[in-house]
Symmetry: C2
Subunit: 181 residues, 2 copies
DNA sequence: CTTGTCATATGTCGGAAGGATATAGTGTGC
DNA sequence: GCACACTATATCCTTCCGACATATGACAAG
C-alpha cells in the first residue's frame, strides 16, 4: 500500500487538492497511522492522473492561489477496493527519540530528563489536539471514533510509560547513582 | 538519524557482522523502535567502512559460511556520540492494517473481524516473545528493561484497544446494523 | 510603506531505504 | 538426492523523505 493508494482512498471520500490531502495527513487521525508529505503526494497524484485513476480540474479561488482538485474515477475506485482486499503489510515504525534513549548512558546526566520532558509535552499536546478533534461535530470522514481513539490511546500510553519508567534511564549515566547501586 | 548511525550505535556495544546486526533489528527490542533490513544495512556498513568509521575483518567459520565482522573506530565513536546529541527527528509510522480499518465499510462483513482477530493474535505473539526476552539473563545490551517494557506496553495496548473498540467497526458495513441505528 | 510571517497552493531534487531478489555455504530430514 | 532452514553477503528498482523552490494573498510590526 503506497501513497498512491492512500490518495485514492481519500478521494473516495470526496474531491480534494494535493494541499488538502497533505493537510489531512498532518491534521487528521489518518496521520496517526500513515505518514505522507508533499514529496510523495504530488508525484502520486500526477501518476494517478496519467493512469486515469483520477481526473484533475484546475480551480481559481478568491484570496488564495489557484488550486487543482482531484476526483477519483470509476477505475480508480475499483483499483482501491481491490488494493483494500490485500493482506496488509507489516507496520513500519522508527523513532529517533527511543533510539536515543537506548544509548542514554552516553548522554549527559540532565539530557535524558530534558528529552523525556519534551517528549511527554509533545504527546500531551497531541492528546489535546485529538480530544478537540473528537469534540468536533463535523470532524471529517477520516476522523472516526475508532481512529481518533486509537491516536489518543497511543499518546496517552506514551505519557504514562515515560512517566512511570523514566527512573530506569535517568540515573544511567551518573557515576554517583552507580556507586549507590 | 539513518541506518548508518544505527549501525555505529550497535557497534559501540560490540563487534558484529551485517547479518547479526540485521538479526538484532528483527529479534531484539531495538526492532520495536527502528526498522532496518538487508537492503539498507549492507550499503550502510560499506559506506561506514569507506569513511573509516568502522573496520571490517573477514572471518572463516566452521559449519557456516564465512562472515565479515565490523568494529567501530575511534572516529566512528566520536561521530556517533555527536549524532546522539542532535535533537531527535519526529517519529515515522505507517500501518496498512489501520488504514484498511479506516475503510472498513468498504470491506465484506466478516473481513474486518478476520483482520482484527489476526492482528490481535500477532500482537499476543509479540507479547510472548518480548516476555521471553525479558526473562533471559543475558538478553543483550539492546534489550534493556526500558526498551522491552516499551515494546510490551505497546503490543498490550494494541490488544486491549482492538478488543474493546472492534464493535465500532464490525457492524460498519452491515445494512441491518445501520437500520437499527 | 516596507519587510517579515503565515497560510494557501504547486512542485522538484538528491539521497536513503524497503522489499524483493540473488547467490553461496552448511546442515537436517525425508 | 532433493527440499528446506539457517547462516552469510549482496544488489536492484521503486518509493519516498526532507529540504528546498516558487507563487499568491493576507496580515502584523516597525
Amino acid at each position: 500500500m503506497d501513497v498512491r493508494t492512500l490518495c485514492l482512498g481519500i478521494l473516495t471520500l470526496g474531491d480534494a487538492s494535493g494541499y488538502e490531502i497533505r493537510k489531512m495527513f498532518a491534521d487528521d487521525a489518518i496521520g496517526e497511522v500513515f505518514d505522507a508529505n508533499f514529496g510523495s503526494i504530488y508525484p502520486a497524484l500526477n501518476r494517478l492522473t496519467e493512469e486515469g485513476l483520477v481526473v484533475c480540474t484546475a480551480q481559481a479561488q478568491e484570496g488564495r492561489p489557484d488550486k487543482k482538485v482531484y476526483s477519483i474515477t470509476a477505475e480508480g475506485r475499483t483499483l482501491f477496493t481491490h488494493e483494500l482486499m490485500k493482506v496488509p503489510a507489516r507496520d513500519r515504525f522508527r523513532s529517533e527519540f527511543f533510539v536515543t534513549l537506548l544509548f542514554a548512558d552516553l548522554l549527559p546526566g540532565d539530557r535524558v530528563g530534558d528529552l523525556i520532558d519534551g517528549r511527554i509535552a509533545h504527546h500531551q499536546q497531541e492528546v489535546a489536539r485529538l480530544e478537540a478533534l473528537a469534540r468536533q461535530e463535523s470532524a471529517g470522514a477520516l476522523n472516526t471514533p475508532f481512529m481518533v481513539g486509537f491516536g489518543l490511546a497511543h499518546h496517552r500510553l506514551a505519557v504514562s510509560y515515560l512517566t512511570e519508567n523514566r527512573h530506569l534511564l535517568e540515573n544511567a549515566g551518573s557515576p554517583v547513582a552507580q556507586i549507590a547501586e
